[in-house]
Amino acid sequence: MKHKWAMAIDLDRCTGCGACVAACVAENNIPTVGEAEAGMGRLMQWIRVARYWDEEHAGANAVYLPVLCMQCERAPCETVCPVYATYHNDDGLNAMAYNRCVGTRYCANNCPYSVRVFNWRDHVWEKPLDEQLSPDLSVRSRGVMEKCTFCIQRIRRAKEAAAAEKRPIRDGEVAPACVQTCPPGALLFGDIEDPDSEISRKLSDPRRFRLMEHLGTEPRVWYLKRRKGAGL
């Protein structure tokens, strides 16, 4: 069964709380780098909630935009990797084989969304913090590039559960950690190959747009614009 995983981010619901960031860190063995490294722009988080100041309108306001790997169909990162460490898998995901990565950082350089993060050093989980590490995915070592995988381990888990019960994956059965936890339900995940899935219906909304659509990267992450209320 072929899948086309996609995410929809409804900016009309997003409150900017950062629960997605914490959930991602917990799920994907993402290290904390500390104040000094963070000051050098070396945060390892795979999803960020970018905050913009809306100064075009009367009265300043903040606008939130969660940004993660767009899982581009025509990904600029893939074509520049000299060792095929980042590649397109059968579900159309932009996957990483960490063990192949030699750390050229060409991929990050070529990503218009700046969602790739690099392990500038070996990160240490002081004992017993390492007890929390998920056994479903590895801890990446120094010199390796990493980024959001759409929680590929969760997709895998759902596929195995479905295969064991000899049924297709149900709509809503897979949710990456960020989507699962999002308090206002701004994030939605699903299979756009299935025309009846919730995300397929959601993406028929004319509010939809993709980041930097003009680059032709064909992201699998769609955004839904904030709505403007009537009146005041």
Binding site: R51, A60, N61, P184, G229
Partner: protein, 730 residues
């Protein structure tokens, strides 16, 4: 019935079966060196339901456990409070469980108290030390025992309450720096119910927020954020609209359709202005007996008069009134800033007056008061021990500190995350007062500012390792949440309730009669295990979720009077010397400071300033320019009560002449992640809240700023993709 041993055995067996049985079902393969991640074979994990303990909201969680270790926390989809969702602080509870600085055994202070020198002792020795003291105190002066904790709910609260009563001491004090005293008083005055209101945001068509912070830290942020999402986007034809009044552009304000800046502390004036327009223009239902209101003082709040005091244009007020009363059901919600200082009760009552006038109170999409005491009705008068009102307990703490200084107490029991030595104003001199108590025992997982002052520290398990029950302050729907250990205690820890139960049995007499349970687990089992497999199901579900909704408490019908404006406090601070209004707000990541020892939360960029790992003070860029301050500059912030330093961070949506700071940083003890991150904003607060307000005056003080060279810098998370055009985003 499933006892604990069986439960763990079954868990172990299931884990074993999935680990080894799993290999047969899935493909067998040697994992190649170059491994695409989707070909990894996964072991299956177990999920256990429990209750979150990171803040007082009381969300239900499920924890993924693999090989006996907790790996991931998610919201419990069955739980009515958070419906499967969880915030960043809830997610980070795992780091507390496996924290490298977690206390691993009892410790006795060696050298002077508070010196930070400890000597590990065995549990036998620690308990015998505790019992010797307890017995002495009970024999000689039982009323000289003080128990100072955070508010405790469920049977844990019952155990603590009964223990103190049977012991013979009335001095049980619960301290919560963000207690909702003003809101409770306002609800009593307006609705006739002294309880937290439940705002049905999901079904509202219109939301008026008055410095509301219900999406970030207030009362039950995940509950309200989940409902907010549904209000915005889950109905076919209605998108609920949201208007925010406040002095600070907060995370919640940023979600509003329109944010209208007001002068600090004038939330109530704005709300009364809206009521004034509604009655003047005949927008409210006639049943609300509106006419009397004008006579009773509302006539003074004409839009023009309100504009002068608050800065909100009269036309905006009029339109807000028209939209709010024309789009019912609607809600008016006040937040932390609204209930602060001398005007706190007035502000909240003015906001609740809008709810009373709207005609939607008690209806879907309106405000209501579901009765949470039903779950514990069998305890009669004692049920307030299990479901206490969410008060700050400020007056009681102050009273206790005074008594400590006078030498009233011979022994103190300290527990909980509200950390009084950190969150109380320094003018109260809590640490000094505590040093007059001859013996202090602290129940704690970490050495924070409070537990460091004890003679004896007894390590407690984290919420993920304990038995207990809980009822959430809002969104509970009558449900009781059950807490069970999802992993075996990772450290040699015993819960406070277990120690108190053991102590009561040893004390005998009245204590033993009042507390007949062997342990908290025994207590939970006896209370929730009826005929059949009730307990097993409840533990599997994460609580007892009744199929019918909790009955609503009766609200006052008929005439409501507008609240009386508070008198200007005598001897107010000189605005010439202290030109800026102080606005302290709970940090989205660290709350009152309890999250500061977790690196995940320290490294979570703040929603507004994107700052992390350090303290800052927000200023309006124009105010800063006038003062000659640039973004990132170091400043000294001085109030009449204290002086701290921080870095400037611009917030273009902050009212001019306001200095806003998040609470939570500035620890002197609490582990490596927490110490050395700036100074503590709580130390700017006065001891006596002005004008008889009963909580901390978080948003009522005044400060002066002075440029100061600091050796540190404020790290911000800039967006690396640069600034795209906003018109493409909206």
């Amino acid at each position: 019935m499933l006892d604990r041993r069986q439960f763990l055995k079954l868990g172990g067996a299931a884990a074993f079966a999935t680990l080894f049985g799993g290999c047969e079902k899935t493909r067998k393969q040697i994992i190649p060196f170059v491994l695409p991640p989707e070909n990894q074979v996964l072991g299956e994990a177990l999920w256990y339901a429990s209750a979150c303990g990171q803040c007082p909201a009381g969300c239900g969680v499920v924890v993924r456990v693999s090989e006996g270790r907790a790996k991931k926390i998610e919201g419990n989809p069955l739980h009515p409070v958070n419906r499967g969702r969880l915030c960043a602080r809830g997610q980070a509870a795992l780091q507390a469980l496996y924290h490298q600085e977690r206390l691993s055994g009892p410790m006795k202070a060696s050298g002077p108290r508070g010196s930070g020198n400890w000597q590990p002792v065995s549990w036998e020795e620690a308990l015998s030390l505790l019992m010797t003291r307890l017995k002495n105190v009970r024999a000689e002066a039982p009323a000289s025992l003080l128990m100072l904790t955070e508010p405790m709910r469920g049977h844990e609260g019952l155990v603590a309450g009964r223990f103190m009563k049977a012991f013979g001491s009335p001095h049980r004090v619960a301290w919560d720096p963000f207690g909702r005293d003003a809101l409770l008083a306002a609800c009593e005055a307006v609705h006739g119910v002294r309880d937290l209101p439940e705002y049905d945001i999901a079904n509202a068509r219109y939301l008026l927020s008055f410095s509301g912070d219900f999406l970030e830290t207030w009362v039950s942020p995940v509950h309200y954020a989940e409902a907010y999402g549904r209000m915005r986007g889950s109905r076919e034809t209605v998108r609920g609209k949201f208007l925010h009044f406040g002095p600070r552009l907060s995370m919640t304000a940023a979600s509003a359709d329109r944010y209208l800046q007001i002068a600090p502390g004038t939330e109530g004036v704005v709300a009364l202005g809206i009521s004034h327009v509604a009655i003047r223009d005949g927008l409210t239902p006639p049943a609300a007996a509106a006419g009397n209101l004008m006579a009773a003082g509302l006539s003074a709040y004409s839009p023009e008069a309100v504009e002068k005091r608050t800065g909100v244009r009269a036309s905006d007020l009029a339109r807000a009134a028209k939209e709010f009363f024309g789009n019912q059901p609607g809600l008016a919600i006040g937040g932390t800033a609204c209930g602060s200082g001398a005007a706190g009760v007035f502000n909240h009552a003015a906001v609740e007056l809008l709810n009373a006038l709207s005609g939607s109170a008690g209806l879907p999409g309106g405000v209501s008061f579901p009765d949470r005491s039903r779950a514990y009705a069998r305890y009669g008068a004692e049920r307030s021990l299990l479901a206490p009102p969410p008060e700050s307990g400020y007056a009681a703490v102050r009273d206790a500190a005074g008594k400590m200084r006078k030498g009233t107490f011979r022994m103190a029991i300290l527990a909980g995350s509200s950390n009084p030595a950190f969150t109380l104003p320094p003018a109260m001199k809590f640490a000094e007062a505590l040093s007059n108590v001859p013996f202090a025992v602290a129940f704690a997982s970490f050495l924070d500012e409070t537990s460091s002052l004890a003679d004896l520290v007894l390590p407690v398990p984290t919420p993920m390792e304990t038995w207990g029950d809980d009822i959430a302050p809002v969104g509970h729907g009558g449900a009781v949440t059950l807490r069970q250990p999802v992993v075996e205690p990772f450290r040699d820890a015993r819960s406070m309730a277990d120690v108190l139960l053991a102590a009561a049995a040893e004390l005998g007499g009245e204590s033993a009669r009042a507390l007949p349970w062997k342990s908290m687990r025994d207590c939970i089992e006896k209370n929730y295990d009826g005929p059949g497999e009730r307990l097993e199901k409840a533990l599997r579900d994460g609580g007892v979720f009744p199929s019918d909704a909790a009955p609503l408490r009766a609200m006052r019908k008929g005439a409501v009077l507008p609240p009386k404006a508070p008198r200007e406090a005598a001897g107010a601070v000189d605005p010439g010397k202290y030109p800026l209004a102080l606005h302290l707000y709970p940090s989205t990541a660290l709350y009152d400071g309890r999250g500061a020892n977790l690196p995940w939360l320290q490294e979570l960029p703040d929603p507004l300033t994107t700052a992390m790992w350090r303290n800052w003070v927000e200023l309006n860029p124009k105010t800063a320019e006038r003062m000659g301050l640039a973004d990132g500059d170091g400043v000294t912030i001085a109030s009449p009560h204290g002086k701290i330093t921080a870095h400037v961070a611009f917030n273009p949506g902050l009212a001019p002449d306001v200095a806003a700071m998040p609470t939570g940083q500035g620890h002197s003890r609490y582990g490596r992640a927490a110490v050395g991150r700036g100074e503590n904003p709580f130390s700017l607060l006065p001891e006596a809240p002005e004008g008889g307000a009963s909580g901390l005056a978080l948003q009522a003080g005044r400060v002066a700023l002075e440029k100061t060279a600091l050796p540190t810098r404020l790290v911000r998370f800039a967006h690396p993709e640069g600034q795209w055009k906003l018109s493409n985003l909206m």
